[in-house]
């Protein structure tokens, strides 16, 4: 936390969390390198963290990209990194909470590429805080971003797929939530909403050849780790039976499995990428309360 001196000998304190750009380039992928050639993937929140990893994996499989996020500078930096894989990269700064801005993004995507094969709704966020203390504004911001923003993206993409007679695939990045998630109740509520929204849409939009699935990361190390207090971050490294963190390509590969033709018969589904965290272990993003420290 601000002002605190971190003991850098601890494994949960690092100068850099998650893959470096060099690792995003070289880490092995299971897929054919031309799997997504000629296809377009739209990744939200692609300027950093898991979103940047997803965008890199799609680009390495040959896809052209539309990347969006709130900060143009971050998108510009991501663009110049992602262009090395040979595909086109279009950036679009926006806030997904604003449906008009989402309309603008989708209009531009179809104007530039005439298609969008894969929508990866990665943008979203949360801040660790005991539920008792969540302020109204903070609650609404998280719901508005993770649930409403994701919905605007899905509906606006789906309308265009319907109108153009094109098939489409949506993958929403959520969190592991089957046992709830203490100290991020707002995000847990919003993400659970996305899971059951996705199931509903999987049926309604099946006639349009639109598939809707979710990927639920557990403790997946990325730049986002730096935003948690040390006590919270510490719990991430031992919170599952595997007692280690995952990497952004664990998430990216799940997205590609779902959205490429390997997932042709899969819709309405959610997969946990978490080393089994729903089954054993615990994560306390704001630090473990004394009450839960059993002898």
């Amino acid at each position: 936390m601000a002002g605190e001196e971190l003991d850098m000998s601890k494994p949960w304190n690092k100068d850099h969390y998650g893959f470096t750009d060099a690792e995003l380039v070289s880490y092995p992928l299971v897929f054919k390198s031309d799997l997504l050639k000629g296809e377009v993937a739209l990744v939200s929140g692609a300027g950093q963290g898991i979103g940047k990893g997803i965008a890199a994996a799609y680009a390495r499989c040959g896809a052209d990209l539309v990347i969006c996020g709130r900060t143009q500078e971050k998108l510009d930096a991501a663009q110049s990194f992602l262009e090395q894989f040979g595909g086109r990269v279009m950036t679009h700064a926006l806030n997904i909470r604003d449906p008009d801005q989402v309309e603008g993004l989708m209009d531009r995507t179809w104007a530039e590429f005439g298609r969008c094969d894969h929508l990866i709704n990665n943008a979203g966020g949360q801040f660790p805080i005991p539920s008792m203390d969540i302020p109204d504004k903070g609650w609404r911001a998280v719901i508005d971003n993770n649930l409403n923003g994701t919905w605007y993206m899905m509906q606006r993409a789906a309308r265009r797929w319907r109108d153009h007679g094109q098939p489409g695939s949506i993958v929403n990045i959520i969190i592991v939530l089957s046992r709830g998630q203490p100290q991020v109740a707002h995000t847990c509520a919003s993400r659970a909403g996305v899971v059951y929204l996705s199931k509903s849409l999987a049926v309604e939009w099946a006639p349009h050849n639109i598939r809707v699935n979710c990927v639920a990361p557990g403790a997946v190390e990325s730049s986002g780790f730096a935003t948690y207090p040390e006590e919270g971050r510490k719990s991430f490294y031992t919170c599952a039976p595997m007692q280690r963190v995952g990497n952004v390509f664990d998430i990216a590969e799940a997205c590609i499995y779902y959205s490429s033709h390997s997932g042709n018969f899969v819709t309405g589904e959610t997969i946990d990428i978490s080393g089994g965290s729903a089954l054993w272990g615990e994560m306390w993003p704001a630090g473990k309360p004394d009450y839960f420290k059993n002898a």
């Binding site: 897929f31 999987a202 049926v203 099946a206 599952a240 039976p241 799940a254 018969f265 309405g268």
Partner: protein, 287 residues
């Protein structure tokens, strides 16, 4: 009387040519054991693992069918070891695993595909039929898991298990025995995912919905007819949809995935219905 009127599922030529998303050298130097590999979904899974470079151990009950399947798999340039056995027999499973390690010194991917069921109203399932389905699908899968895991532990090798189950989330009418056994496997897998994490053993399952394969021959026309409109996609899946899910979970893409079930059923648990023995009048609602 069931009519054997056509070929269900992909032909051998289609299995060999069906596009895969994976890198062609992904599984080179690795060994996959696929049970029930001679026919149907198992044949598709073994084919994909072989196409991606894996050597195979295949087992099944019928020697002639297994030998023929092994010849087909060898066509992809891989070593194939066969073992005629029933997974219901724990000693036969021991022997299978001993042979696997004797031949290869390792096993990377255990795909528990062997299993089966027959369509019947629950109220009429005979005692022996119930016993047989539980013994094969649940007990047999368990013997395979435990015997592989013991060897992985003793050789300090990591391992991955994928068991083929079924889309059980709303129950499966007229297949109560298989639903019970598959649900047992899914929660067994979750339990083992935790217990065996210290040994670097991952345990997952793939739950097929209606996948067209040679197994369709075992159903009556009235039952089979319900398969083709069973989910929101209003079509059946291909065995390669299952095979690709198995590779996704078993290969390094699944490194951080354990205790999970990937349902490959075209959304069948969300809308639609199958009645493998034919839809009872009671459930026929006019639109």
């Amino acid at each position: 009387m069931i009519e054997y009127k056509k070929h269900y599922g992909l032909t051998d030529e289609e299995l060999a040519a069906y596009p895969t998303v994976f890198d062609e050298t992904l599984l080179e130097g690795q060994v996959a054991l696929v049970s029930g590999a001679a026919t149907g979904i198992g044949r598709g899974i073994a084919t994909l693992f072989a196409r991606l470079g894996a050597d195979l151990v295949v087992c099944g009950r019928n020697e002639e069918r297994l030998d023929k399947a092994a010849e087909y798999f060898r066509g992809f340039g891989r070593k194939v070891v066969t073992e005629v056995m029933s997974i219901r027999d724990p000693e036969a499973v021991e022997k299978l695993m001993d042979k696997t390690w004797a031949e290869y010194g390792r096993l990377d991917h255990l795909i528990n595909n062997a299993g089966g069921q027959f369509a019947q109203d629950a109220i009429d399932i005979p005692y022996k039929g119930w016993q047989a389905v539980i013994d094969t699908n649940l007990n047999g899968s368990w013997y395979m898991m435990q015997n592989a895991a013991k060897r992985w532990r003793d050789h300090k090798q990591p391992g991955s298990i994928v068991t083929i189950t079924a889309e059980v989330w709303r129950g499966i009418m007229q297949m109560a025995h298989t639903t019970a056994s598959r649900a047992g496997v899914i929660y067994l897998s979750k339990t083992l995912a935790v217990e065996w994490a210290p040994y670097n053993i991952r345990v997952n399952s793939v739950a097929p919905g209606v996948i067209e394969s040679s197994g369709f021959n075992n159903y009556s026309d009235a039952g089979r007819d319900t398969f083709y409109e069973s989910g929101p996609m209003k079509r059946t899946g291909h065995v390669m949809d299952i095979a690709e899910a198995c590779v996704y979970l078993s290969s390094h893409s699944g490194n951080f995935v354990t205790g999970e079930t990937v349902t490959v059923g075209g959304g069948m648990s969300l809308w639609g219905e199958i009645w493998p023995a034919g839809k009872p009048d009671y459930f026929k609602i006019e639109d």
